[in-house]
Symmetry: C2
Subunit: 91 residues, 2 copies
C-alpha cells in the first residue's frame, strides 16, 4: 500500500535564520510594512510503500531523523496519508 508523506522541516527556536532575516530586512524597502518574524523552512514530499499507516509513519520518521534533517538545528513534522487522499501531502 502506498502512502503520501509530507516532511515539514524548520529551524529550531534560537537558531539563526539568515534567509528569513534577509527577507524581513528587505521588505520595508519593497513597500511591505508590518511583516515580522520571517522564517524559512523546507519540505520534502514522497510516497512510501508500506503494509499499513503505522509502518509508513515509523519508516518515514526514521528516514527523516537519519537523512532528511539535521536534528541538532532542525525540527521536523511528518504527516502520513494514504496515497491520493490528501491534496496537501500528495498533489
Amino acid at each position: 500500500m502506498k502512502f503520501d508523506v509530507l516532511v515539514d522541516v524548520r529551524l529550531r527556536g534560537g537558531i539563526a535564520d539568515p534567509a528569513g532575516a534577509t527577507i524581513e530586512r528587505a521588505l520595508p524597502a519593497l513597500g511591505y510594512d508590518g511583516v515580522a518574524g520571517v522564517t524559512v523552512g523546507k519540505t520534502v514530499r514522497f510516497t512510501i510503500e508500506a503494509a499499513d499507516e503505522a509502518e509508513a509513519s515509523s519508516r518515514s520518521e526514521d528516514l527523516c531523523a537519519s537523512f532528511l534533517t539535521n536534528p541538532v538545528i532542525e525540527d521536523a513534522t511528518v504527516t502520513v496519508n494514504p496515497a491520493g487522499e490528501s491534496a496537501e501531502a500528495g498533489a
Copy 2:
C-alpha cells in the same frame, strides 16, 4: 490585528527537481526501499499586520507572487490564520 501566514512553495509539475532526485537515488543504498516521487520545496512563515483576514490574505498573496517565489517555475499555497490560533502556521 496580526495574522500568521504560511507560504508553501513547491516546484511546478515538469520542472526538474535535482534535490529530490538526488535524495531518491541515494535512499536504496542507505537501506530505504519503496520510496518514490521525492520532491523538495520550501516554506516561508511570517506574521503580518492587517485590518482583517481578507487584507492579510491579499497582501500575503501579493508579496508571495512578487518576491517570495518565482511563478515561472514554482507554485505557492498561502495559508492565513489569526495570530496564535494555528500551531501549523504559527509555532
